[in-house]
Symmetry: none
Subunit: 157 residues, 2 copies
DNA sequence: AAGTCTTTGACCATTACTGACCTTCTGCAC
DNA sequence: GTGCAGAAGGTCAGTAATGGTCAAAGACTT
């Protein structure tokens, strides 16, 4: 049942839970050798399992002494707020859709009114500045980024 | 964090933070000897890590009493990160400029490595989907909005 | 049978590092 | 002052060692 990708995913999550920090560093080549697979398989696991929507951020460097770092964000992995965001925000979003999503998240209890105000301000910050035709695209990207950022922050209470 | 260049970079930044002034003076040959590497390696580190985009200026002189001076620009703790962002982000930015700014903010202590990875992921989300000539503009707006949001977000610390 | 997820490999892009060769500066002999 | 030798740092192309991308094939579900 469990595929190789599942094993690699489990291994990485175990690694993450075994270190005091919120991130781990791996070498794609080494990991591929450990699991006897092609290096691109590691990339596949990372892009399908360690996405922002699932509460992870991956950064890497090529070349000599290259590496891959996996950061775990402070999200509750079960939260369906992330799923709502992912579904609601496509390539472009108009003002109303953005505001609707923010209201919906507040209603869900996933977003505090304060955070909602912050997000709304960031999303509408420079509407129509120079290239109005890009507003929808920029709005979508900023909306997604700020929402994911807020939703994945460790809760302070 | 394993390459020799990384160590040399760290050493120089440590040196910078250990002196009262905003600059240090080194000798390429001596530094190369200390790290057991070719002198050109020092030049490599300086041109890749101590660029103006990352908040440094390097000046040097050849010949008998040659030297290399590294100046740090407004990266002292307490300087205004928001101001740096506004100055650095114009109407359009390329990938490297975006990355350099993020590195600089981490250098300043204004951004945690996690948040940096997050912003980087948001900014480089899906480059090149649309007309490529618009990427720089979208990137600039997303970068600015996301950074301003993250930097002004009430932190939990 | 169709669709989705997994896995691979060929090819590409990026980064680190070196050494041969070039340019610039100082100091000294004259 | 001139000329020259030595002692810096600069440049650049080449090599090696990574990770990324993507189309295609394979495997598994429905």
């Amino acid at each position: 049942m469990a595929s190789l990708s599942d094993y690699i995913e489990s291994y990485l999550k175990l690694l993450l839970s075994s270190v005091p920090d919120e991130w781990v560093e791996i070498r794609r080549r080494d990991l591929a050798e450990r699991f006897r697979c092609a290096p691109s398989q590691i990339s596949y696991v990372l892009t399908t399992r360690f996405t922002i929507e699932r509460g992870y951020v991956v950064e890497s460097r090529r070349g000599g002494a290259g590496y891959i770092r996996i950061f775990r964000l402070g999200a509750a992995p079960g939260s369906d707020a992330l799923e709502v965001v992912r579904e609601a925000v496509g390539d472009a979003v108009d003002r109303k859709a953005a505001d609707d999503l923010i209201v919906r998240l507040v209603d869900m209890g996933a977003l505090s009114p304060q955070d909602a105000a912050f997000v709304r301000a960031a999303v509408h910050a420079d509407d129509g500045d120079r290239r109005p035709e890009l507003d929808g695209i920029v709005r979508a990207r900023v909306l997604k980024a700020t929402l994911l950022f807020v939703l994945t922050q460790p809760t302070t209470e």
